[in-house]
């Protein structure tokens, strides 16, 4: 059997959608005549794409993570209070924010796997706890300020040979995406998808199901912390920076053809879903569609995407499958009676 490049199930539609959107952008906006426009789009989309990658790990292993939006807010607010404008504290606080994301993911994962509470409920609870606790701690509104160093990652750019100025966030995004794609090609990644498909089979194959699912939540938490650093860096301190991001990330993942409930979908497609979503917003903006209708358009699109995935797929699969079954059957022989 020869190896050939191959798209994971459900990846193709999102790439088509993305391509159409990018063409739409090129037609609608003069800024998208040159690469810098797309680079700006990528920079803008980076936090959501990173969140979508994190969310992907959880969804593909059969869960939900509703806590990422609250975690992003928490990350920014914690960073602002602890850094308090002091440049010297920056590195320490960045590590701390990452560790906090990791910890939240760990708690989500432990409650889900050890106490067997559905992840939807666990992370909903975590959302409430984070939302409350973080402002309980800061007394209602964010305090302190982010340092310039902290903000570099979301705001600054770096000179890359041959490419020119590339935003840090784009580099971070590409790094994470590459790592995630490699991870998903590897054994642990495949086992993670298999957990979303059939937990029992993985357990009886000697896999550590709980540890894998825990890993998914930890990665989601960690990546939410990264997104917080980028968003905080991009736009500064805000009390509502993470509002609604959890649903947007889930939408992006689903748009990428990943099956809710787990067991199918690729991480690159999930990231592409997030980029599509962001491109869609930008396009609507360029076309002058009112902000109000934006959400309606978004609603229609995700329903259409999911309907296409489940309806279209079924038909295509059957078309593909049946003739194959026939091929594999033995040649018919006259019945000898």
């Amino acid at each position: 059997m020869t190896w050939r490049p191959r798209l994971a199930e459900g990846t193709a539609p999102v790439l088509v959608v993305l391509l159409l959107l990018l063409i739409g952008l090129a037609v609608a906006g003069p800024a998208y005549d040159e690469p810098s426009g797309y680079l700006a789009l990528l920079k803008r989309a980076a936090p959501l794409m990173i969140l979508a990658i994190g969310q992907y790990f959880v969804i593909v292993s059969g869960g939900f993570d509703l806590s990422v939006g609250a975690l992003v807010t928490a990350g920014v607010v914690i960073a602002a209070r602890l850094i308090n404008g002091s440049e010297s504290a920056t590195a320490r606080v960045i590590l701390l924010v990452l560790a906090f994301g990791l910890l939240v993911g760990l708690v989500n994962g432990l409650i889900t796997t050890k106490l067997l509470v559905p992840s939807f409920i666990v992370t909903l609870g975590m959302l409430l706890v984070l939302d409350g606790a973080i402002f309980l701690w800061t007394g209602g509104a964010p305090r302190g300020a982010l340092s310039a160093g902290f903000r570099t990652f979301g705001r600054g750019a770096v000179d890359v040979p041959a490419l020119g100025e590339v935003p840090w966030s784009v580099l971070i995004l590409l790094g994470i995406l590459l790592a995630a794609a490699l991870f998903m090609r590897g054994g642990t990644g495949r086992a993670l998808v298999a957990v979303g498909d059939n937990e029992a089979a993985v357990r009886l194959s000697g896999g550590q199901v709980d540890r894998l699912r825990l890993l998914a939540f930890v990665l989601s938490g960690l990546l939410a912390a990264v997104a917080a650093i980028l968003l905080g860096g991009f736009a500064g301190v805000s009390a509502q920076v993470g509002d609604g991001l959890e649903f947007r990330a889930i939408t992006a993942v689903v748009l990428g053809g990943v099956l809710l409930g787990g067991g199918r979908g690729s991480v690159v497609a999930a990231a592409a879903g997030a980029l599509s979503l962001e491109a869609l917003f930008t396009l609507l903006n360029l076309l002058g569609v009112s902000g109000a209708l934006e959400s309606a358009v978004q609603g229609v699109i995700i329903i259409a995407a999911v309907a296409y995935a489940s309806l279209g797929n079924g038909v295509r699969q059957r078309l593909r499958w049946w003739p194959q079954q026939r091929d594999s059957a033995r040649p018919a022989q006259p019945a000898a009676s």
């Binding site: 939900f64 939302d131 309980l136 978004q298 229609v300």
Partner: protein, 341 residues
């Protein structure tokens, strides 16, 4: 069957275990927790020289339970059926506007206003149900999509509260009998109706069946699509009733009255807190009302104790997860060993 004799003892054991299990269903736990909460709350509030369950306190708890209760009754039905509805919050806002705008202050338009609001709600439920059954979209995404569409409509067409409810209709939101608001009684009546529907009628049986195992239901001749659509229509109608109630209470329609209160996630939380399995097939309205009352009581206690609103969120989150963890433990303990993993 001769072989059954050798199983006689285990069956006996099972029977006693069953009795224990029946005694401590999640529903019972919820109400025990409610009672415990009331006792603890009374003591804590009492320490401040106040009374939790005086007329005002009861009124408060019941009033707070009314709107969430109505939404949660509907949400119970869809969750039992194995589905989920994230569009209720926007729908509450939309129906409150439709009711208030149709009434426009005229007494004669109360009935048309209510009917129109309910009709629109039913229509939205129908769309939810059809998107799930015909387009085969996951309920989470389908109802999230519909929620976004409703949001777009609201944002595009409304700039704030609109419409006007005639004074006569406002009695629905403000009248009470002793400490019990009339609307709370109506909510409880709706809950009773839903309980009857779920546990006594055929369509109700079928909701449990579809939520329990949709394939089994289908093979047994249950019209699964119709059941799911019905559940969504009923859920949306319950959200519509909430919108109508809130219109009567607010005196006008308000586009974000549902989302500000977070009725989407909060109603799911209440249902799950009430012991209904998020995956469906098990649970009921009685538990949900218990869950709603717990949340309302917590709120009231915290208000009496003047707890920081941010702290409330923390407690809500912890209570939710703890409760569901408790139910999960009981389920594992009760599960007969069978499957390998």
């Amino acid at each position: 069957m001769s072989t059954l004799q050798e199983k006689a003892i285990p069956v006996g054991q099972k029977a006693t275990r069953l009795v224990v299990r029946r005694r401590l269903t999640p529903t019972v736990i919820v109400y025990l927790a409610l009672v415990a909460l009331l006792v603890v709350g009374s003591v804590l509030v009492g320490l401040r020289g106040e009374v939790l369950l005086d007329q005002g306190g009861i009124l408060n708890i019941l009033t707070r339970a009314t709107a969430l209760g109505l939404v949660a009754i509907g949400q119970t039905m869809v969750i039992l059926t194995g589905s989920l509805d994230l569009s209720v919050a926007y729908l509450v806002g939309l129906t409150s506007l439709i009711a208030a705008e149709t009434m426009a202050g005229r007494d004669g338009m109360v009935v048309p206003g209510v009917l129109l609001a309910l009709a629109v709600a039913a229509g939205v439920g129908l769309v939810n149900g059809l998107v799930i059954t015909v387009l085969k979209a996951n309920a989470f995404i389908a109802t999230l999509g519909v929620a976004l569409i409703l949001r777009g409509y609201l944002e595009d067409n409304y700039t704030g509260p609109a419409g006007d409810v005639p004074r006569g209709f406002q009695h629905l939101g403000y009248d009470r009998i002793g400490p019990v608001p009339v609307a709370a009684l109506l909510m409880l009546a709706a809950a009773a109706l839903a309980w009857w529907y779920l546990s006594r009628t055929r369509p109700g049986y079928h909701m449990y069946a579809v939520g329990g195992d949709i394939e089994v239901a289908r093979l047994s001749g249950v019209p699964t699509r119709r059941v799911i659509v019905t559940a969504h229509v009923l859920c949306s109608v319950a959200a519509g009733l909430t919108g109508i109630y809130l219109a009567s209470r607010l005196g006008s329609g308000a586009p974000y009255v549902g989302t500000d209160a977070g009725y989407d996630l909060e109603s799911i939380a209440a249902v799950v807190l009430g012991g209904t399995l998020l995956a469906g097939g098990r649970g009921g309205v009685v538990g949900t009302i218990g869950g709603v009352l717990i949340l309302a009581t917590l709120d009231t206690i915290f208000d009496d104790l003047e707890v920081d609103p941010f702290f409330k969120d923390v407690v809500r989150g912890v209570v939710l997860v703890t409760a569901v963890a408790l139910y999960a433990r009981r389920m594992i303990a009760n599960r007969a060993p069978g499957r390998l993993a």
